[in-house]
Subunit: 102 residues, 2 copies
């Protein structure tokens, strides 16, 4: 059954390649736990093969900004993202249509 | 170096879980090759672990519609998406901001 969902809402598409995986899984898990506690969090999906893709969904841009502030704080404690990432892209997007089946 | 890229453009965020992987990799490769030949195609990133995420980027919604028409045609030939997918979500989004480092 195709179901149209409630739109619009916001998404952060984070695409990366890793320079080091030392401690990365633990950090990623911590990030996900932190995200889930944030106001406005909807869901997060992650997968990694050659490239890692994490898409998090948020009620609005304000909830993304608050989340980003917390991530930046965490990253400072962790000596910066560049410890792990060879490259990354962050794309902020507005989800305008959604459908699927289960 | 952080680089702001040209926005806005469109994205299709396709998230799925597989019911069967029989012939899936070949179909996914064919889909990607087809996408790259479409007008308005910008790039595509894919990764799969528990969940598969494919994000394709397009100049505008018109190029997505044309691409979708071709995918539907291909899927009909392949007896439908439901051969492979246990579940899937398609989200059409507008990328409004982009930054990253390389």
């Amino acid at each position: 059954m195709k179901v149209e969902k409630f739109v619009p809402y916001s998404a952060v598409i984070f695409t990366s390649t890793l320079a080091s995986s030392d401690g990365y899984a633990a950090m990623a898990k911590r990030m996900e736990e932190l995200a889930k506690q944030q106001p406005g969090f909807i869901r997060m999906d992650s997968a990694r093969e050659d490239v890692g893709i994490t898409v998090s969904y948020w009620k609005n841009l304000e909830s993304i900004q608050l989340w980003k502030k917390n991530v930046d704080h965490l990253n400072t404690q962790d000596l910066g993202k560049r410890k792990w990432y060879e490259s990354y892209s962050v794309r902020i997007a507005k989800v305008e249509r959604e459908y699927g089946f289960n």
